[in-house]
Amino acid sequence: MNPIIPARKLDLAYAVLVVATVATWLIGEWWEGHDVLLVVMAGMLTLTFIKCRLVILDFMALRPVKFFWRGIVIGWVVLVLGLISLAYLISLP
């Protein structure tokens, strides 16, 4: 039997992804005229994590699959965003 994500859940995930993408774009527009702000960076990374998680759990249909598989792919997101955060902190004056 294949893992099935309900259509309503897929549509909801898509709606959240669109809103989060527009929010990320607005952050970029605002950030261009401002100095480094850790809270903005944290907000952007949080939005990115939420988007990745929705793609992994709902679009990739890993939500009903054993944690091992979800853990590996979500772990990839945590690792990548963690390294980006670390590099960003190093870059601060």
Binding site: M1, N2, P3, I4, I5, A7, L10, D11, A13, Y14, L17, V18, T21, V22, T24, W25, I27, G28, E29, W31, E32, V36, M41, M44, L45, L47, T48, K51, C52, V55, I56, D58, F59, M60, A61, L62, P64, V65, K66, F67, W69, I72, V73, W76, V77, L79, V80, L81, L83, I84, L86, A87, Y88, I90, S91
Partner: protein
Amino acid sequence: MTPTTAIAADEPHVAPPGDLAIWFFILAELLAFAVFFAAYAFARAKNPGLFDEMQLTLNRDAGAVNTLLLITASWCVARGVHAVVEHGDNALASRWLLGGIAGGAGFLVVKLFEYAHVFGAGITLSTNTFYMFYISLTFFHFMHVILGMVILTVLWAQTRKGLYTPTSANGLESGAAYWHMVDLVWIVLFPLVYVMR
């Protein structure tokens, strides 16, 4: 439904959808992109001024539109898989997959316009560190989108022939998983390259 089957239905699936081999391939691809992303982030940490200045020459609107195109394509593909796995409806799946292909094609067109602008301005891999990363990273991803488009086209042709059933959709699920990986990588790439300052 007997109590035994009810319990079985609630239990988590042991394996992810599609062939196990595609997941090992996806994990290898994700690892390669992770190295690329980390290299970009730490190179930026050495010279944030250059990266912030060069980022202003990029078209953030195009990056955002491309994100919307890829997530729309991913949603279409997910709905296509759902049409087969839940309802066994190949005709509906083929229409959803066509939507996914259109989204991917839109992404490629927007990216080509971006590349035309960059290369038209005389920018190359050796212009500076930022553009070395921008061109190589986005082109690496661009090639993955092209491969994903080829896969989606094959899946579309298969659904047109009505080849998938709810119990035999491994090929469809494998191709869809690859496409979602391409989307997942761009979701990290967009804020990293176009937004972060």
